[in-house]
Amino acid sequence: MISPVKIWRNQKKVASLVGKTGKIVAFTLIRVPPADFSNQAPYPVAVIALDDGDKVIAQLVDWNESSLKTGQKVQTVIRKIFETGDGVIPYGIKVKPV
């Protein structure tokens, strides 16, 4: 379980990343996930070069086969990270194709 204090402290960073655009520079499709993500697999994870010059790693949501490619434009959005039924539900940054 992630500490609620840590989730709260992380909110500033999450807020600073919302609504940014960028593009995929590398991606994979996770088929064997960590325990907390087991009800989400398979799902893509990508390295994103944001238009402001930063780089982030994030899960890709609202995707289909044709959006799984390098150069794909994406936008950062707030999503539930995972829900395990145990403790606080963390929300954070994921990306969706645009």
Partner: protein, 377 residues
């Protein structure tokens, strides 16, 4: 001042359900002491390399834990650097001898992974990554899969070439009685095994393993010497790196190691590299300066680093992480054990004839830590 490796031993690697970490540690350490021809009373310090005893076994404070088990009433330290824990512990031990503090030390790497569920092990291993990586749902196969994808897109590296790394390392492992796998693979089998994180398949990933390895280091000159021990670091997360087709930490550690040792890549006869995934060996071959960027994959695929085929040098004669197994804390020490035994000429069927200079390359995380050791006889 060069430090000598006077004793080296490793346990069998594999799914060792009937064996505890204590037993593994004792077997490796007593084997190394016997190999060195010394007794416990000569040992002045113990360095323990381990990553997962805390998160998986709720046991830390491993210095005294193993010192007690080994009846070594000496200063004892735990070194953690993810999958580079072993290489880092050797580096710390070398530095402790060079400083003049100790003359004879034991470096023990031990890991017990198969007692736990694979998803719990995968979660624990992600402690080596960044917070952002954990929240993205990435796994280590996933992070290396992205490096593989980037390499394929930039240099035209193929799935067959990636698979050839696993085929070679299983061929070598089949000649190593201590290896986890004694199964020969084909390119087709590797490529058709289930996908873990595209494009990497199950048989392109090193396994979850149990095992321990130990070396005895000494200030006294004896046949095998460590002529360079270098460590470099990079960003914890893979996304923040300048390039996804190189591990800059490996390049930096290697550059300094060659300089300190006064050798060049072409002088090296036998190499153990950190092939946690097939792409990792290709990156290592390039970043260590053995091949130009984009050229290693094809060279490995035609046997330029395979025992019995190569005219130049052999890479991962132990079977590497893929074939020999990857008990994470033990791996970096096992690499040193393999190089020492290769230089002494005592490994039988997998012997690299006339090997005089060997290199060991150990990586933590997705390349945040890299350790390079060069040894000579």
């Amino acid at each position: 001042m060069n430090v000598s490796v006077i004793g080296a031993a490793t346990t069998k690697f594999g799914e060792l359900w009937g064996v505890s970490p204590r037993t593994l540690a004792r077997e490796a350490t007593e084997g190394a002491l016997a190999d060195a021809g010394i007794t416990k009373k000569h040992v002045q310090a113990l360095f323990v390399a381990n990553m997962l005893a805390g998160p998986l076994g709720n046991q830390q404070h491993l210095g005294p834990f193993f010192a007690e088990e080994l009846s070594l009433n000496v200063p004892a330290f735990t070194i953690e650097g993810a999958c580079a824990s072993g290489g880092l512990a050797v580096h710390a031990a070398v530095a402790s001898i060079r400083s003049g503090q100790y003359d004879t030390v034991v470096v023990l790497g031990v890991e017990k992974m198969t007692d736990h569920k694979p998803e719990d092990v995968a979660t624990a291993l992600m402690a080596a990554g960044s917070d952002e990586e954990r929240l993205s749902g990435a796994t280590f196969p996933g992070l290396y899969a992205m490096l593989a994808r980037a390499h394929m897109e930039q240099f035209g590296t193929t799935g067959e070439e990636l698979a050839a790394v696993a085929v070679k390392n299983h061929f070598h492992a089949n000649l190593n009685e201590k290896a986890q796998f004694h199964t020969l693979l084909t390119i087709d089998q590797v490529m058709k095994s289930s996908k873990i994180a595209d494009p990497l398949t199950l048989l392109e990933c090193s396994p979850i393993s149990d095992g321990a390895s130990a070396v005895i280091l000494s200030s006294k000159k004896k046949n095998v010497e460590i002529i360079a021990s270098e460590v470099a670091t990079d960003t914890l997360g893979v996304a923040q790196r300048k390039s996804l087709t190189q591990l800059a930490a490996t390049q930096e550690a290697a550059k300094r190691a060659y300089q300190k040792a006064g050798v060049e890549p072409k002088d090296v006869d036998v190499v153990e590299v950190h092939d946690c995934f097939t792409i990792a060996e290709i990156l290592a071959m390039e970043d260590l300066g053995f091949f130009k960027k984009g050229k290693a994959a094809a060279a490995i695929a035609i046997g330029e680093t395979t025992l019995g085929k190569t005219k130049r040098f052999v890479v991962n004669p132990s079977g590497g992480l893929k074939g020999c197994g990857h008990p994470v804390g033990a791996t970096g020490i096992k690499q040193i054990v393999e190089i020492v035994q290769q230089l002494r000429g005592v490994v039988g069927k997998r012997q690299v004839t006339g090997a005089k200079i060997g290199l060991a390359h150990n990586v933590g995380g997705s390349g945040a830590t890299a350790v390079v050791h060069i040894l000579k006889i």
